[in-house]
Amino acid sequence: MTFIFESGYTFWNPLIWIIVFLVVAIIVYFFRRRGQKGYKKDTDQARIFLCGEEVPEAEERHIRVGNIYWGFFETLKEYYKQILRVHTGIINDYILWFVAVTVVSAIILVIAGLAK
């Protein structure tokens, strides 16, 4: 019943990780405790201040999934265009891929057998 994990190259103790996390959490909580005392909920202090602009509603404030990582997809646009051409939802293409991979691997196996 040892906690230590040894992979043959490295080892660690999950308990140590958990203790580290707890210590960090305690420190964070400590700093949070030393925050502003005069802060009250449900007053104007809690409201969002947007340089005097009026604050949009909740559903407009929420960043939808389509807008996250926009730059990533913009950079890899070519790759995604190519990879999405493969993903036609047609069942016949699925079987075509199966035939292709089977034939290729069979050829590789037979040729490797002949080479020996």
């Binding site: 293409d93 075509l96 035939v99 292709a100 089977t102 034939v103 069979a106 050829i107």
Partner: protein, 93 residues
């Protein structure tokens, strides 16, 4: 494009299958046949059935037949599940 690729792959696959079929033992004299000879000799006095096929299906490989009956049961259950009425009925949960 897709048609050409598919046809080429299909021809290669058929070529593989046919060439493989030419390598199998000649049609009509399988070899080796130890397992089947044992079954044909001993089926009658081990299972008491005159039909060797029946004794293979239900005794020697009876577990396969149980799985086969299970597959039929599965398919029937699936068909009746998919063709069920989606509206709620009170008596059947």
């Amino acid at each position: 494009m897709r048609t050409v690729t598919g046809l080429i792959l299909l021809l290669v696959l058929v070529a593989f299958l046919v060439s493989g079929m030419l390598l199998i033992h000649p049609f009509g004299n399988p070899s080796p046949t130890d397992m089947d000879d044992y079954i044909i000799e001993n089926a009658q006095n081990q299972t008491g059935s005159n039909s060797v096929v029946a004794s293979v299906v239900f005794d020697y490989r009876g577990f396969d037949t149980l799985g086969e009956a299970t597959i039929l049961f599965t398919a029937v259950t699936g068909v009746l599940l998919l063709l069920r009425t989606v509206k709620h009925k009170k008596e059947n949960p």
